[in-house]
């Protein structure tokens, strides 16, 4: 069986990579910051948006096919 990603347009793959970096660094910073740090809320907003964008990608991929 051929993996789905071979059919995926390269731009989508890149988009996923970029968003993964956004989410990944949020995770790292959240791990560094103390639990009562006020900046956590902002970081969580960035992370949430990044993850939401990632979640859209399978749908976009299927519409492009």
């Amino acid at each position: 069986m051929t993996p789905i990603e071979d059919h995926e347009p390269p731009q989508l793959h890149q988009l996923k990579n970029h968003l993964s970096i956004v989410v990944g660094f949020c995770d790292l910073l959240l791990g560094d910051l103390p639990l009562d740090d006020p900046k956590r809320v902002d970081l969580q907003e960035i992370r949430k948006a990044g993850q939401a964008a990632l979640d859209l990608i399978p749908d976009i991929a299927s519409r492009m096919r």
Binding site: M1, P3, I4, E5, E8, H13, Q14, K16, N17, H18, L19, S20, I21, V23, G24, F25, D27, L28, G31, G50, Q51, L54
Partner: protein, 457 residues
């Protein structure tokens, strides 16, 4: 010296991912090497020596799966974790089948990655503890420089302990590299002459015409060039221990004179009319089978009977493979510290190779192999690849199990020596392999390999 950090190789064509994994892994105590991928990474791979690798599956030029295969082949001890933006069940199964430790989708699950890296660290620590335990055992079972835990060696040590105080002459037999000189030294150290000299001499190093003078001395004018009188080895060893290695190589006339020394304790210098009394403890050694040499008329029977009153036969390493881990551990420790390397363990594949090798050169060969492997290594764990290179073997062909014995390409080693030449040389020297190797101008190891390949052993 503290334990150095385990080394993690991270490969991704996306720089942001590289930095991300680097930040995480360094916080986890890893030394991190970053690479953007590409063909040249394949060439560079063997020099990087990572303990683990995190690799992107989708990369231009060289894909993650291809890189995974290359790493699994060159260094099976390195654990590989694949990352992908789009994980499917099929691609995950494929990766794991190829030997990946795990398959992570992006965005990375850092808890899972932490677990995986923890596993890698634990694995390294376990290999180190194993070697440390073997080294300790090796020390506990050491006997005058010999290491042996198995029953064969324990009996040998016991025999040496019992014989050493009494035996005036002894014969040590065993293949090359089994430790004949160490046994001789132990006999000396445990004997009544431990505070006197131990003189070791290799009979095969003797030029036949000078052998007599070397062993028994000469008087002034005994032959051309004998400007001064000179005491031979026996006189120098008076009151002490003389170790004659490769006694089977002695020419027959010298054997007769040697017998006289042993029987009467009298030495006659070359050209002298009178003889002198000497009191020498003689330990002889040979890798020849003396009864056969006697039957073939190359060794005096009376001398053989004189020598073999006390005979100590040493086992070949392949007959006591149980001791290989302890010997290995002792040698790794020795050479790791001598070369100031940080080697503190062996990969399971490397252990298998050592346990299964034919060891025709016995412990000396094992020691040389470990020495070379330690020299080649810049990692913490001796890998299969390093041991294989040290064994003089070529890389096993793709698809074959790495545990299969690595028989080197013969033509690469010595293209000019063929079967006939070896047979002839062996016949000319009466089957003595050391002498045959010298005649052929190749190392003894090379000769053994050749003999194995031609089925002449």
């Amino acid at each position: 010296m503290g334990d150095p950090a385990p080394r993690l190789l991270v490969v991704d064509d996306e720089p942001g991912i590289l930095t991300l994994v680097q930040r995480f892994a360094e916080a986890e105590g890893f030394e991190v090497i970053l690479r953007p991928g590409g063909y040249h990474l394949l060439e560079e791979l063997s020099g990087l020596n990572p303990d683990a690798a995190v690799i992107d599956r989708n990369m231009p030029e060289v894909g993650g799966l291809e890189l995974l295969k290359a790493i699994r082949e060159s260094d099976p001890g390195c654990q590989v974790i694949l990352m992908t933006a789009e994980a499917t069940v099929e691609s995950a199964i494929e990766a794991v089948k190829l030997g990946a430790l795990d398959y992570l989708s992006k965005p990375l699950d850092f808890d899972r990655l932490r677990e995986l890296l923890g596993g890698v660290r634990y694995g390294i620590a376990r290999r180190q503890r194993l070697l440390a335990a073997d080294t300790e055992l090796a020390h506990r079972f050491e006997f005058y420089g010999m290491v042996g835990r198995g029953p064969v060696m324990q009996e040998l040590f016991d025999l040496i302990r019992r014989l050493a105080p009494h035996a005036r002459t002894a014969l040590i037999t065993g293949e090359t590299g089994t430790g004949k000189e160490l046994v001789a030294r132990a006999l000396h150290k445990l004997g009544p002459r431990k505070d006197r000299k131990f003189i070791a001499f290799n009979c095969s190093a003797l030029v036949e015409t000078l052998a007599e003078s070397e062993l028994f001395g000469h008087v002034r004018g005994a032959f051309t060039g004998a400007i001064e009188s000179k005491a031979g080895l026996f006189e120098q060893s008076d009151g002490a221990t003389l170790f004659l290695d490769e006694i089977g190589e002695l020419p027959l006339p010298i054997q007769a004179k040697l017998l006289r020394v042993i029987e009467y304790g009298e030495v006659q210098r070359v050209g002298a009319t009178d003889s002198r009394k000497v009191d020498v403890r003689l330990i002889a050694a040979t890798n020849r089978r003396l009864p056969q040499e006697v039957a073939a008329g190359r060794f005096r029977q009376d001398l053989y009977y004189r020598l073999n009153v006390v005979e100590i036969a040493l086992a070949a390493l392949r007959e006591r493979r149980d001791d290989i881990p302890y010997l290995t551990a002792a040698f790794v420790q020795e050479f790791s510290s001598r070369f100031q390397k940080r080697v503190s363990g062996l990969s399971p594949g490397a252990e298998r190779l050592l346990n299964n090798a034919p060891w025709t050169g016995n412990i000396r060969e094992l020691r040389n192999v470990i020495e070379r492997a330690c020299m080649l290594s810049d990692g913490r764990i001796l890998s299969e690849r390093e041991v294989l290179a040290a064994l003089g073997g070529t890389r096993p062909a793709a698809g074959t199990a790495p545990t299969e014995s690595a028989s080197p390409e013969l033509d690469e080693i010595m293209p000019e020596v063929d079967r006939n030449a070896i047979e002839q040389a062996l016949q000319q020297v009466g089957g003595n392999r050391s002498a045959a190797a010298r005649k052929l101008g190749i190392s003894r190891r090379a000769l053994y390999r050749r003999l194995d390949a031609f089925g002449l052993r």
